[in-house]
Amino acid sequence: MRDVAFGQYYPTGSPIHRLDPRAKLIFSLLFMIFIFFAKSYTAFLYVFIFLTIVTVVAKIPPKIVLKSLKLILFLLIFTGLINLFLYDEGRLLASWWIFTITDKGIDFTIKLALRLALLVIGTNMLSLTTTPMELTDAIESLLKPLKYIKVPVHDLAITMSIALRFIPTLMDETDKIIAAQKARGAAFDTGKVHERVKSLVPVLIPLFVSSFRRADELADALDARCYNATKNRTKMKKLKFSYRDLIAFLILAVLIVLIMLDCYLTKAPSDSLFFGTDYYIVNLFKSWIG
C-alpha cells in the first residue's frame, strides 16, 4: 500500500522540493490570487510557460501533473457547457429555446476552463513537491503569532502530526480487517444499500477497538517521553528562508508583473469574477505605475 501520509508527494529532490515550505505555501496563495487577473490568451500563455518551467525544474513527469486535471474534468465540462449555452452577450451564433451560443460566450468559456485548469495544476504543484509534514511545520510557523491570543498552536501542530503519522497505520489496519472479514465470506460490494452499510459493522467495530487501544498506548508513550514537561518547548527543526526562496520569488514576481501588465493593457473585459474587486486592485496597480 502507498503511504498516504505523503499525500501526492512525488520525491525527486529537486530545488523546488527543497524550497522553504512556508515560501511555497505563500507562493501558492499568490499564484491563486493573481491567476484571476489573467484575462487574455497572452496572459494564459505566460502562466503556462511558468508552470512548464516549474514542472521541468521539479523533475515531475508531465503525466503526473496532468493527472490532477482528471479529477476536475467533470467540473470543467459542466461549467463549460453552462457558460457556453447561457452566456447571452455578444454576437449571436446560434440559439434554441433558452440556449444561446455567442462569440463572447465561446471566448468566456475557453478562458474559464483554462483558468481553472491552470489554477488546479499550479496549486497541485505544492502537494507534489511538499510533504504534509512540511506543510504542517509551515502552517505552525506562519500561525505562530496566534500564540499571543492563547491559540494552542503547538498542541494543534502535534495533533496534526500524530494524525498524519497514524493515517497510514490505520489504513493498513483497515485493509487487514477487510481482508480478514472477506476471508470469512463477507461481501462489501454486492447487495442493497442497507445491506452494504450493515456489512461495514464487522470492519468498523474492530477498527474502533484497535484505535482506542492504540490511543491508550500512544498516550502512555507520550507521557513516558515527557510530553508537557515544560511550557518552553524547543524545536529541533528551524525553517529557514534561503537564497533559493528569493530566486523562486523573483521568478514568480516576473509572472505576476507580466499578468498585471497584460491586464492593464487589455481593455476592461466584462467577465469579472470578483464582483468588481479585481478592478479595484487593477486600478490601484495602474495608479502605482502611473
Binding site: M133, L218, A221, R225, A229, N232, K235, K237
Partner: protein, 279 residues
Amino acid sequence: MKAIHISGATLEYKTQTGGIVRALNNVSLDVEEGEFIALLGHNGSGKSTLAKILNGLLIPRLGEIEIFGVNTKDISKIFEIRSNIGMVFQNPDNQMIASIVEDDIAFGPENLGIPREEIIKRVDWALEKVGMSEHRTSTPFKMSGGQKQRIAIAGILAIKPRIIVFDESTAMLDPQGRKEVLEVAKQLNKEEKITIIWITHYMDEAVDCDRIAIMNDARIVAIDTPQNIFKRTELIESCGLDLPLPLSISNSLKSQGIDLQGEILTENALKEEVCKILK
C-alpha cells in the same frame, strides 16, 4: 542510592463487569544502577503494571516507589523521574508520533526544552547508538519491526535516561528483530551503564542477564541469577513459563543418563558439552 526501590507496592484494577483484579500484590524490588534485570511472567501476571508504576503512569494504592531517591508520588518531580527512566513499549507503531525518524527522536528533548543545538547532537548520538544513522530522514512506516523498535529506543535515548524499561518490546518482532533489539539493550547496558529492566516471556532472552525476577499472580515469586533460577524447573513451569530450549534438551539428556556438566543455558554451551561427552 538505588536506581529503583520498590517496597510493598499493591494495586488493583476494576474490570468492566465490576470485579476487582489485583495486579500487584505487595511487590518489593531493589535494583542497583547498571544492572540488567529480566522480568519474566505469563500474560496477566502483573509485569506491565509493574513497569507502569516505575515512571508514575500508575501510582500504587499502597507502597512506595523511588527512582534514584525520588518518590513517584511527588507530582512536582514527575518529569525528573520520567527523564531518568525511559520506557520502550510492545507495539512499535503505537509509540511514534512523527512521520520522519529524526522528528520523532527529537520529540522527547523538545518536550524538555533542550536547546536546539543540543537536540541535534542527541539525535545524532541516539541514532548512532541504535545503528540507524542512515535512516535519519526516512519514514518509519515501511521499516521492519526491529528497525521501528530501534527508532523507538533512540527516541527514549534522546531523553538521556539512566534506566530503560523494555515492556515486552520484542513480543511482536520476528527473530531477526528480536536479536537486534536485545543486542542494542545489552550494548547500552555495557557501554552507557544504563540500567535495564527487560520484561519478556521469551526465556532465551534472559539467560545472560544479571538477575531474573519471576512474576506470578501479581507477586514476584523468585529473584536470583539465571544459573540459580533455571535450576528451579518446577517453579518455572508452575508459573506458566518455558525453560530455554538448550536447557530443556540438556535436562532431558541428563535424565536419560547422559552425564552433562553444569546448567546449560545457551546454544554454545550445549554444543560444547555434548561434543565433550561424545568424544
